[in-house]
Amino acid sequence: MDNTQTIKLQDTAVEATQRLTGKEAIIKCLLAEGVDTLYGYPGGAIMPVYDELYKYQDKLHHVLTRHEQGATHAAQGYARVSGRVGVAIATSGPGATNLITGIADAQIDSTPMVCITGQVASHLLGSDAFQETDIIGISTPVTKWNYQITKASEIPEVMAKAFYIAKSGRPGPVLIDITKDAQFEEFDFAYKKCTAVRSYKPVPKLNPEALQAAAEEINNAKKPMIVWGQGVILGKAEEEFKAVVEKSGVPAAWTILGVSAIPTDHPLNVGMVGMHGNYAPNLLTNECDVLIAIGMRFDDRVTGDLNTYAKQAKVIHFEIDPAEVNKNVTADIAVLGNSKETLAALLPLLEEKKHTEWLNRFKELYQVEFDKIIKDDITPEKEGLTMGEVLEGINKVSKGDAVIVSDVGQHQMIACRYAKFNQSKSNVTSGGLGTMGFALPAAIGAKMGAPERPVVAIIGDGGYQMTIQELGTIFQTKVPVKIVVLNNDFLGMVRQWQQLFFDRRYASTELINPDFVAIAKGYYIDAKRVSKREDLAGAIEEMLASDGPYFLEVTVEKEDNVFPMIPTGASVSDIRLE
């Protein structure tokens, strides 16, 4: 194919033409895109590129993870806190297939990532050569774009396009597969950043009429409610969003990936929607008169039963991806565009309002939830430690300034419910895909993406063991991540479902666990186990005060459940408090 057709080239070349090999060109492309860190694992088909990485060690920090899946999650963690493109690199065959979980995760959570895989030499393609897999075929459904390079001359334009596609519009993962012969081939290299692709429209045009109609609905609403998602963060629209919320006086709830776009304790922040979200925003979704969805996609974990979701409300959907409009919930008004642009344009059209009475409804229902659930979660009186009090303990020391990286399961819901956030890009979790094993490697990337901030990984004893080998990466790089394992010796969320919906038949959810502290110490990481309340606060302080990486295991109550809960397929207003 002729790739040059699809790229509108800028006139300014980063560097004048020079004679390079493909492998060096790849490094030059990464540097031209501002990459400083990449995560990966070497192997036969990518060895030429690694040979170049050796030469460029002063400019490009390559982090050797202990598994390629860890490389993708680390790249995701890096991308999520920094807003930059995460880069992962692996060899062909199993190296490439091991990336797939992370790529699928980045796709569903709209994380900008470029994955580079080595491939067998082009003359061997299709011959079932050693470590050959059709990674383009395999990755197609879970990438925003992918491409196989078989000639070195393709490298600059394809790499430029990869970065442009990964980060523009609704971000996502891009995979570039490069045959070994293309890595060795010499060609005349010149790099031009990609700024447009003919067939690709990353940001739809803002329709002023739709915006006007949206503003009128918001201005006339008596009981309006905002549900915002990661689109606010990805659009770098936090300031515009805060201004819209404050001027309109509309109570605003968040999805699991939207949290931290405005501070947790903002007076108009009414909490999390969805399966284990807060009582008030879930219940009042089915009472509001105008539902303003901003940069969110009405995931089934957010909406519950669609047939009973916000049927009474006019729905206004601010969204960058046209395919999301009317996909799950029909919008009465859709305002397409980048959130930064649409919210900035919306602001002057809004009337200043205070919905005091309506906001009080949220406060009253919060009190109900507090008395029934939150109080016992964060300040329990029972003997066993709760996950909630660990989060509360972290909040007290971090004051809401930490990046919280959570894995998947009960502890994730507790972390997202109770973690305090003062600044944006602070919550890193696997939302859409629910990838156990995400947190430990993602925390490595998060700490490297935001080195000035404390990064605390909250992980369950199940998910921890899915990528536990990344302790080796932490040890080797000395990246000072704080790892908290909330150990209940169960796959807690599955066990909770078994208890509630499968008559307590705990099929394969009980874990006989190793000595996690000994394992951490085996990697020369400072480690401590806490199982008594009186030791918890001190241990958290010690952990956050330590200079290096730190592992803290907290033995929590074995059979605690996460509430509130909207059972699968139930209506958001059927949210259960017990």
Binding site: M1, D2, N3, Q5, T6, K8, I136, G137, T140, P141, K144, W145, N146, Y147, Q148, I165, A196, V197, R198, S199, Y200, D321, P322, A323, E324, V325, N326, K327
Partner: protein
């Protein structure tokens, strides 16, 4: 829910390797059967055109169009009902040449169906027929009685009665 209809999807794309896989995966993932598929060049140089026939509700059809257009290398996707398009399929029959002379009826069938003889040699002749699915199926049934050595039918190709403003879109991009 709205009724299931036959839709012809026209997708204008870049001509890139792997795009067929990406497009078919959108249908496969939702367990939607592709009734017929054709790819060709389009009226615009360098732009490919997919013509895909599927049966589903309009509500789902619209969502599929959204997913198709979301693909980086898809320029634009459209869907149309049969009434909104001019469409046909084409087919080839390979039949023993003896039959052409021994069975008078075959000559009548060929004449009535407006099928065209592409080639004749000692062993076989090849018959080509373009038209609606029902016409092709009728011809198939009629010729089956005499024995068909080989049969193949193409995917649907179609043009729309309405304009699809791809050239204008591409011109806008070039500006």
């Amino acid at each position: 829910m709205s009724e299931i209809k036959t839709y012809t999807v026209s997708i204008y794309t870049e001509n890139n390797i792997g795009l067929l896989n990406r497009i078919s995966a959108i249908f496969q993932r939702r367990k939607i059967n592709i009734e017929s598929l054709n790819t060709s060049i389009s009226e615009i140089e360098g732009v490919s055109r997919f013509t895909i026939v599927i049966n589903l509700t309009e509500e789902r059809m619209k969502k599929i169009i959204g997913q198709l257009e979301k693909q980086v290398e898809v320029i634009k996707a459209f869907y149309h009902t049969d009434e909104e398009t001019i469409f046909l399929e084409t087919c080839l029959f390979k039949i023993k040449s003896d039959l052409l002379f021994e069975e008078r009826q075959i000559q009548n069938i060929i004449k009535e169906s407006s099928a065209r003889i592409v080639t004749v040699n000692k062993e076989f002749f090849v018959l080509e027929k373009a038209g609606r699915r029902s016409e092709i199926e009728l011809l198939y049934r009629e010729l089956s009685a005499f024995g068909i050595m080989q049969f193949v039918r193409s995917g649907r190709i179609s043009v729309t009665k309405d304009e699809m403003k791809i050239s204008k879109m591409l011109a806008e991009f070039a500006e």
